[in-house]
């Protein structure tokens, strides 16, 4: 890894550090504040949990950010992460509880606007919906858990001191679980934008293989841990009684509710388990631990009849939820302009969209039939946003249809040159059957992404996405990952 790369990653590490400094307070703030857990113990447990969560369970939520907009150059990723970190810092300075998730989403949308890219409307609506659902779910979970805990404690007739010890152990355990969930869910915010330009390669240490993405997430996890160790002390001590004075029992419930909510929005395993039983699943999106904590505390406050809830900070929090993504988007836009024009760094790799006969035929097969779509044949363009607007306006397409057509028209030249790519193909991950299908395409060239996908899908069912049902989501995610990998390795005109 060269010094240039380290420099570009530094903004992600800075974002990780600020996330550690702030979000750890959500997990252990009430426990440390009420002197139930020592700061040093909390910091160590939290750091280990975050690193483990990032490396082991970080993949789930990272995919959604990728679908929102793939920041496709390192200087671009650097600027986006820096904008999110600056927005986070600014909001913290204003005394507003921050959400790193919102900051990074705002910054990516800022990048999309600057680069003329289309913002994935489905992913965006999923993320925004989760911002509403997350605090509501955390509040409901907190009320349920509190009633259960209180009834359990009353029935058990445990000695006050034993209860205290159990609560301490519970706070540590639940805090560790929360840290794991935070790492798994929020690592996407810290390192997700660097995924398309991941500088790492897979490594095997003592028989354990860490993928390139896991190494990137490990680095991000270490940055979060550094934030926890060095700066969260101050923040941790101010959290807890900001909205409502909490007893140790309530503190335990708040952390547990928050951890559960973070977990359900991050766990691929839970999604598969729910889907296998025909139950509704949660979208795997990065959610804010701050929002979950606020939701849980408000839930408990309302359960007690709403007395004691401090309304002023609540208004501030509401303002922060709107201001954070907005500020991050604006900062990202201006920073990108600055980095692009002053430092002459390429912040976005522009895509070419070509509406050839094959694309229009494929669009027709997909049921996209605009009034004057045939007149688009032979047209090209580089600005996805303008093209989308034109497709909506002139061809009478819906937004979703226009976005789908743009996906089909994007030029991604791929040449299946196995001799050149041989060393970089992870045959074990792809599997022998999928590799056989790839070998069958040796020497072929593809102009558009869908053409490669179609050819591979014809060659083997292993390359085929299944119907979009909760049960198939894991499979489809895996296929998309592998297709993206093949695209990167065989991209014509660039080294693997």
């Amino acid at each position: 890894m060269g010094p240039e790369l380290l420099f570009f990653l530094s903004s992600g590490l800075f974002l990780g550090w600020s996330l550690g400094a702030n979000d750890a307070a959500n997990l252990f703030g009430t426990a440390v504040g009420s002197r139930m857990v020592r700061f040093r113990t909390a910091a160590v447990v939290c750091s280990l949990g975050v690193i483990l969560g990032a490396v082991v369970g970080g993949a789930g939520a990272a995919h959604t950010l990728g679908r929102l907009g793939a920041v496709n150059t390192l200087p671009g990723a650097f600027t986006v992460a820096l904008a999110a970190a600056l927005a986070t810092l600014a909001m913290t300075r204003c005394g507003l509880p921050i959400s790193t998730s919102q900051a990074i989403v705002g910054a990516i949308i800022g990048w999309n606007i600057y680069a003329g890219m289309v913002t994935g409307s489905r992913a965006l609506s999923q993320i925004v919906a989760s911002w509403v659902v997350c605090p509501l779910l955390a509040g409901a979970a907190a009320v349920g858990l509190y009633l259960l805990l209180r009834a359990g404690l009353r029935r058990s007739r445990i000695h006050l001191l034993r209860q205290d010890a159990l609560l301490r152990a519970g706070l540590l355990l639940v805090g560790a679980f929360g840290a794991y969930s935070l790492g798994a869910n929020n690592i996407a915010n810290v390192m997700g934008v660097f995924l398309p330009d991941n500088p790492f390669r897979d490594v095997t240490v003592l028989g354990v293989t860490l993928s390139a993405a896991q190494l990137l997430f490990l680095l991000g996890g270490l940055a979060i841990a550094a934030g926890i160790m060095t700066y969260s002390d101050r923040v941790i001590r101010t959290v807890g009684d900001r909205l409502l004075q909490l007893s140790p029992e309530a503190a335990l419930v708040v952390v547990l509710a928050q951890s559960l909510v973070l977990y359900v929005f991050a766990s691929e395993g839970l999604e598969a388990w729910l889907a296998a039983r025909g139950l509704p699943t949660f979208p795997l999106v990065p959610v804010s631990s701050s929002q979950a904590v606020v939701g849980a505390i408000i839930g408990l406050g309302l359960m007690r009849g709403g007395r004691g809830i401090r309304l002023r900070p609540l208004g501030g929090i509401g303002l922060g939820w709107v201001a954070t993504p907005l500020a991050a988007g604006i900062i990202a836009f201006f920073l990108l302009f600055f980095v692009d024009n002053v430092f002459d760094q390429r912040v976005a790799r522009s895509s070419l969209f070509r509406f050839d006969a094959e694309v229009l035929a494929e669009a027709d097969r997909a049921g996209i039939a605009g009034e004057t779509l045939s007149s688009w044949q032979g047209r090209e363009g580089k600005n996805a946003m303008r093209l989308q607007q034109a497709l909506e306006r002139d061809a009478g397409l819906t937004r979703a249809e226009a976005q789908r057509l743009l996906e089909l028209a994007e030029v991604v030249p791929v040449h299946i040159d196995l001799d050149r790519a041989g060393l970089h193909l992870d045959e074990e991950w792809l599997g022998p059957d999928a590799m056989r299908a790839l070998h069958a395409l040796a020497g072929r060239r593809f102009e558009h992404r869908w053409q490669l996908h179609e050819a591979l899908a014809k060659a083997s069912p292993l390359w085929r996405e299944r119907q979009d049902t909760p049960l198939n989501r894991g499979w489809n995610r895996d296929v998309r990952d592998k297709l993206a990998f093949i695209e990167r390795v065989f991209l014509a005109g660039s080294g693997p």
Binding site: S34, R162, A169
Partner: protein, 214 residues
């Protein structure tokens, strides 16, 4: 885990402390009976036991206080628990002082009043016993503590009535001179005051229990 070991130690210290108070009240009752029956040696031995129990309760209370603070345990209820121990310790302290006065001043109590003094000491013992039961419940089941708090108030009221009847009887007794009447009243009040201390603890316990149930 070390936290559970520390907790077990403090739990047993608190139990030992409450045992000491309860046993102190029991020995106090027996010591008054021994004095009334003129068994001086027995009385002195019981006084020594109460003094010993009072010293032990003091030590245990200090140890619990030090542990709770140094280990930052039960931050929400630490103040309440320490106040409970401190005021419970006052009960045995008061009982010890009362017996020491018997030992020093050697009041001459006519046989006709022995039964009244004995019944007063018995009621005081029942009152302390009930408050100790309530204190034990406070730690495990605060809602159940109130059952025993009713008993404390009942016995304290009964002790007040017995004390009042005793003082009224003493001052109406033509066989006693004024100095002796005042001396005997002083001891009736001394015994009764132990029940007052128990009631003070019960009042605090009622509030602490409500706080714990919130």
């Amino acid at each position: 885990m070390p936290i559970f070991r520390t907790t077990r130690i403090i739990e047993s210290q608190i139990e030992e402390f409450l045992d000491a108070i309860n046993e102190g009240a029991l020995v106090f009752r027996d010591a008054v009976a021994s004095y009334l029956e003129g068994r001086d040696e027995d009385f002195s031995a019981k006084l020594a036991i109460v003094e010993d129990l009072e010293t032990r309760a003091d030590r245990l209370s200090r140890d619990v206080e030090a542990s709770l603070y140094s280990q930052s345990l039960i931050p929400e209820h630490r103040g309440d628990v320490l106040a409970l121990l401190e005021h419970s310790d006052d009960i045995i302290d008061r009982a010890k002082t009362c017996l020491q006065r018997f030992d020093v001043e050697r009041p001459r109590i006519p046989a006709v009043w022995h039964d009244a003094y004995r019944r007063l000491a018995e009621t005081v013992f029942r009152c302390v016993e009930a408050v100790i039961m309530a204190a034990r419940r406070f730690f495990r089941d605060p809602a159940a503590a109130s059952d025993f708090l009713y008993q404390v108030h009942h016995y304290e009221g009964e002790a007040d009535q017995l004390g009042l009847d005793l003082r009224r009887g003493i001052f109406a007794d033509p066989g006693l001179d004024l100095a002796q009447r005042q001396h005997l009243r002083y001891f009736a009040e001394g015994i009764d005051r132990v029940a007052d201390m128990a009631e003070g603890v019960a009042d605090r316990l009622a509030i602490y229990s409500i706080k714990r149930r919130m």
